[in-house]
Amino acid sequence: MRILGILVCVATGAMLIWASGEFPPWGDPNSPASLHVSPRYIEKTMEETSVPNAVTSVLADYRGYDTMFETTVIFAAGVSCFMLLRLFSGRERSSHHYRHILTGLTLRVRRKGKQLPELEEFEPMDSLWTPYDLILRTLCRFLIPFIQLFALYVIAHGHHSPGGGFQGGVILGASMILLAISQDMRSALRRIRERTLAIFSVAGVAIYAGTGALCLILGSNFLDYAALSRIFPVDPVGARSLGIFLVEVGVGIAVMATMIVIYHNLASEGFLDEGL
């Protein structure tokens, strides 16, 4: 296998490098890629979409159809992880651990079964021994709202600075994963339940496809945001900016929900009881 691998890699690499002899030099402003299609995106983005960030306008407007399917890809990955790993019957364990919150005393209860009830002063522990770290828990609890605020800023300000739906959605998802890592998965699941996550992920992509379908119903082509100027009080160029914002929100919601679903299913091997 090794020899086959080396042969294939060397042959493919040699062929690819041979082809690069004809490539334009790095950074050439007169290369075909810089001259043919993209100048219009840069020159016309303000007058056609009123969004200064050319990447966002190309992503969500000129080539918005690709982005809709990209969101569908991440949704499909989340659904796949759920479908492959989720086991609705709980994990059988022969002993459970509890920790007294105030003193740090730990108890081991030897009883077969899935999950013992939550007691008032004792919290259930993961079967993998982790020390109770007050600094980590408190710090993360303080940080998470600010992280989420920053994520919302990234989503909303994607028109004027690098950012947008995907980036903001991932940061939102990361904030909930931080909660799951710093405390435990049960608290993260208490904050936002599995069913809510599933509905969010569908709702996010459906907002995107729904905006496109709305433009279809209003008489124009699929995903032509200028049609939105019929129902919102903006001119067609402003309607494009509005349409871009709507789809970015949809993308952000979908990506957040999917990231959290993938983390929960992978880290707990499908049981959704305890994680890392």
């Binding site: 062929m15 690819l16 041979w18 082809a19 690069s20 002899g21 004809e22 490539f23 334009p24 290369s31 075909p32 890629a33 810089s34 001259l35 043919h36 299609v37 993209s38 219009r40 995106y41 407007d61 000129y62 080539r63 918005g64 159809y65 690709d66 399917f69 990209e70 569908t72 890809v73 499909a76 990955a77 659904v79 796949s80 759920f82 479908m83 492959l84 989720r86 609705f88 069913r195 599933a198 509905i199 569908v202 992509v205 459906a206 496809a209 496109g212 379908a213 279809l216 124009s220 082509n221 699929f222 995903l223 032509d224 945001y225 200028a226």
Partner: protein, 492 residues
Amino acid sequence: MTSHLPALVVTVPLLTAFAAFAAGWLRPKLCFPVGLTGLGITAISSIWLLAEVLEAGTVTYELGRWPAPWGIVYVVDRLNGVVLAAISLCAFIQWISSRASVKSQFSDRIGAFYGLELLFVTGVMGITVTGDAFNLYVLLEIASITAYALIAMGGGRAPLSSLNYVFMGTIGACFYLLGVGYLYIMTGSLNMADLASILQGMRSSQAILVAFVIIIVGVWLKMGFFPLHGWLPNAYTHAPWPATTLIAPLMTKVMAYVMMRLVLFLFGPEYSFGVLGLKDVVVWWASLAVVAGSVIALSQKDLKRMITCIILIEIAYMVGGTFLGNRSGTTGAIFHLVNDVFMTLCVFLAVSSLAFRQRELDMDTMEGLFSEMPFTMGALVTGALSIVGVPPTCGFFSKWLLLKGALEAGHYEFMVALILSSLVCLVLFFRVFEAAYFGHGERSHGHHRMREAPLGMVVPLLVVAIGIVALGLMSGEVISSIIEPALPRGVL
């Protein structure tokens, strides 16, 4: 509404997928009807679209109202239209037929399973209808990721086979992406029609040559063309039956369509057939692939694995037919693509009905099946006759065209491979029918009551079997009005 048909054909399955997934969490009983309605609307839209293309010529649709090459455009011509109609009909029939199977195996995650199946259908429909090279990559990945997940639900060895499919499939898709990158860096465009016109003037460029080679290798990896087929037998055999009956007829055939679209329209017949004398090499290689596929299929004991290996032979026919380079060969390859969707669907649905009742598909336990399940076996016989190439089923006419094309091009080795593989398929199916009719076991002397599969499985199966014969009887009109005019002018 009719002017929006190209967008509807992809958007309706997409929205239906979301509805089915949401229904799985809220009201699981609604998943099946929702999908049925969505796929029905899709099938009607694609047939209507084909009718429009036949009447008015190529249909173009600009998404977001941005003209090509700045926006993404959908271009539907005759080649597209007929493949779209075939795919959507196949998906609709398979949806009805697999209901009992899905309910018995995946009832606790039925929303997710149905949602992924509908997303797979969205992916393959989108691959067929798009006119933009990068959009094709995204839709290809939708179809692939959902296929990986659906195949891995089989239990036992299925996750490992699916992981091998993940590795090889991702490498194939990334090779395609790399090729598109090479094309972009040399031309600056991603739109297929725009690329075709720019590439006319770049025939002797080495970067374009490498882009061509790497794109075709990537597509062959995803198609299961020998020797890049390692993932196919394991992945399709270990997958659960509902997933196999959906993915096996569609995935590899759509990749064959992609190859035809790139070879005939993007790079053009003069370039693809003339560069490096690749034409003859590929046809020789395809003949080898046909023989190898026949040998692999002959050595299988399990029925499901055997019919999976027959796909290898069919794919090799399509590659060889396309690269023969003349009208008969290319027409034969395109008609074979449409035929193979239905032939594969028929054979797989029949064997899945057998598996639903029998649970074990070894040659030893199969006897008496003709009297126990006459309709299923009748449909299996029809599908088998079509694969072998017996008139009046459609398989005969496409093989006839391929033979004619090979004769005209002087590729006698391809003719020999075609005839040899037809004989091998005959032997394969004869073994199955002999085991089912005469039997080897002790219970061959009893009288077998009829124990057919449920009505929901038998009726779609019979519809497909009748369709195969009908397609064969109408093959003259289909070829002359749809397929012949679809070929570009450069094919002689």
